[in-house]
Amino acid sequence: MDIVVCVKNVPFTQEADLVLEPGNKDVRKDNLAYVINEWDNYAAEEAIRLKEASGGSVTAVTVGSEEDEEVLRRCLAMGADRAVRVDPGDVTLDASVTAALLAAAVKPLPHDLVLTGVQADDMNHGVVGPLLAERLHLCHAAVVNGLSVNGSTVEATVELDGGQEELCSLPLPALLSVQTGINEPRYVSIMGIRRAAKIDIEVASPDSLGLFSADLTPDLTLEEMYLPPETGAAEMLAGDGPAIAARILAIIREKVGGSNG
């Protein structure tokens, strides 16, 4: 089975202090580390496991600059066979434009199954996968936390809210957007990195994909980025670990009462 997995290099923002760029259209990125988008790491692992179990190929595709090739090298080191980078040049990216670029790049690649992450940790659209599926006329399911391929269909588990899941089956070729926790992504091995270094990354551009600016009009234009409004809710507890622990226990005793704690 031939699988395409779409991945993105994203800034790691969870424990970072974010500072707005002048003009308030984005945050400063030069002080941030870049990592494979967490959801995409699970999607890449799932693609490679499927290939290891039943043969075929895995092609990793990203939209990004030369620096973003790091994310493709990582997928190659995990076990992908091919990697394609679409260089957007000066095209303004939103979910819709990204999906248009990916669709043009994925179309000529062999693909029985396309996997993406549910969402990316930076812009959080959660929509590029299904948009890509629609452009390629593939059957799709979003937020998949389990899958198995049986002949010409894929059985998928869709994570709904409220602790419920939907079981469904889709004819191949199909696209699934993969939820975190679907597997345990492997660590990249030294051998994998050496192997990956020998593989050339293919580079495409909107021009080489036959796309024109009319195909690449964003749905949305960002006007302003800003810090979340202050809520002023939390009373902050100061001191070292023991001092904080003592305050926490006092609060718990006050709120719960009785003999607890």
């Binding site: 923002t13 969870q14 974010l18 707005l20 945050v27 819709s96 549910v118 940790d121 930076d122 812009m123 959080n124 659209h125 959660g126 929509v127 299904p130 948009l131 629609e134 059957c139 799709h140 979003a142 937020v143 059985e155 994570e159 709904l160 809210d161 602790g163 419920q164 899941e165 079981l167 469904c168 089956s169 889709l170 957007s177 345990e184 964003p218 749905d219 949305l220 234009t221 960002l222 006007e223 980025m225 810090l227 979340p228 809710a233 939390a234 009373e235 902050m236 070292d240 670990g241 023991p242 904080i244 622990a245 305050r247 926490i248 226990l249 609060i251 718990i252 709120k255 719960v256 607890n260």
Partner: protein, 323 residues
């Protein structure tokens, strides 16, 4: 006067809460700008569903068809696409849920209308339609403007708006017939499954000690469990802990896990993604410990400490064992 359409999402004969939240937002926009609110209900049997929507919209358009019994993005997109072509509403609101994450892009590509996803607010600014979204792990907000179009598609993050009350609107009910479906159903529904049952019932505890990614390692789960037991409470966690298989799913708090209502919720090393915070709105007092002072969890907390969760956990255990 234009129309704002809200897609009613329902599952197992129940209208989902996000639908009521969207109707309340649509009602507010409708009152401010003189627009009609129309709920679109696609289902196999509408009895029981219509009642939950009545009084919250000016019109409910009901498509009743066996093909609509289970969610199928192709069938739903066919029906809604035809409905939008007929009505040309200004705005279409769908929940940012697993199902609409398939449906909204299908509608966008098939109709050509622009789409904004996971929005926490929608603004009508003169002729411009704008949305507010959260980006970068919820640490920044972004306001974006749609390109100019006939209709605008928006998926709304659950919990962004209050459920509201029935506004006593006179609701007209229109029965419409589904168009001819373009293709045989491709995605086949095979059933529902409960994913969070079994084990400890975290919904009944007075005190929850809840651990997240910041707990660092699986070996720190046991000390947290001990502290929870010493407090007469239970151990719960956020999604990354379940993703890493450190704890079974029945410990998970949040939209894909459980909603909890302890008297005290102690969040250790939990960053506070909205999916997690949505599960603790019923908690009495929320105490958050996280070394990232900008972590969104502090916005949901009554008490906070910028500290290493492990240090605080160790100190809690020492203190509790003292007596």
């Amino acid at each position: 006067m234009a129309e704002i359409v809200v897609l009613a999402e329902h599952r197992e004969e129940q209208v989902r809460e996000v639908t009521l939240q969207m109707l309340s937002k649509a009602g507010e926009l409708g009152r401010a700008h003189g627009h009609r609110v129309v709920a679109a209900l696609l289902c196999a049997r509408s009895d029981g569903l219509v009642g939950a929507l009545e009084g919250r919209a000016d019109e409910i358009v009901v498509y009743e068809d066996d093909r609509l019994e289970h969610f199928d993005p192709d069938a739903y997109a066919d029906v809604l696409g035809a409905f939008l072509a007929e009505r040309s509403p200004l705005l279409v609101l769908l929940g940012h849920t697993a199902w609409s994450m398939d449906l909204a892009p299908a509608l966008a590509v098939r109709t050509g209308h622009p789409l904004a996803t996971d929005c926490v607010d929608v603004l009508l600014d003169g002729p411009a339609v704008k949305v507010v979204r959260q980006v970068y792990s919820g640490k920044m907000f972004a306001r974006s403007a749609f390109r100019s179009a006939g209709s605008y598609l928006v998926t709304v993050r659950p919990g962004s708006f209050p459920v509201g009350t029935t506004s006593g609107r006179q609701t007209t009910i229109t029965r419409a017939s589904a168009p001819v479906f373009s293709a045989a159903a491709q995605r086949r529904f095979a059933g529902f499954r409960d994913s969070s049952g079994g084990g400890v019932d975290i919904t009944q505890a007075d005190v929850l000690v809840s651990v997240g990614r910041g707990i660092g390692d699986q070996e720190n789960i046991e000390p947290a469990r001990e502290v929870a037991a010493l407090l007469g409470g239970a151990l719960s966690c956020s999604r990354p802990v379940v993703d890493k298989k450190w704890l079974p799913k029945y410990h998970q708090v949040g939209t894909s896990g459980k909603s909890v209502k302890p008297k005290v919720y102690l969040a250790l090393g939990i960053s506070g993604a909205f999916q997690h915070v949505a599960g603790i709105t019923g908690a009495g007092t929320v105490i958050a410990v996280n070394k990232d002072r900008k972590a969104p969890i502090f916005r949901a907390a009554d008490f906070g400490a910028v500290a290493d969760a492990l240090g605080v956990l160790a100190a809690l255990k020492t203190e509790l064992l003292k007596k």
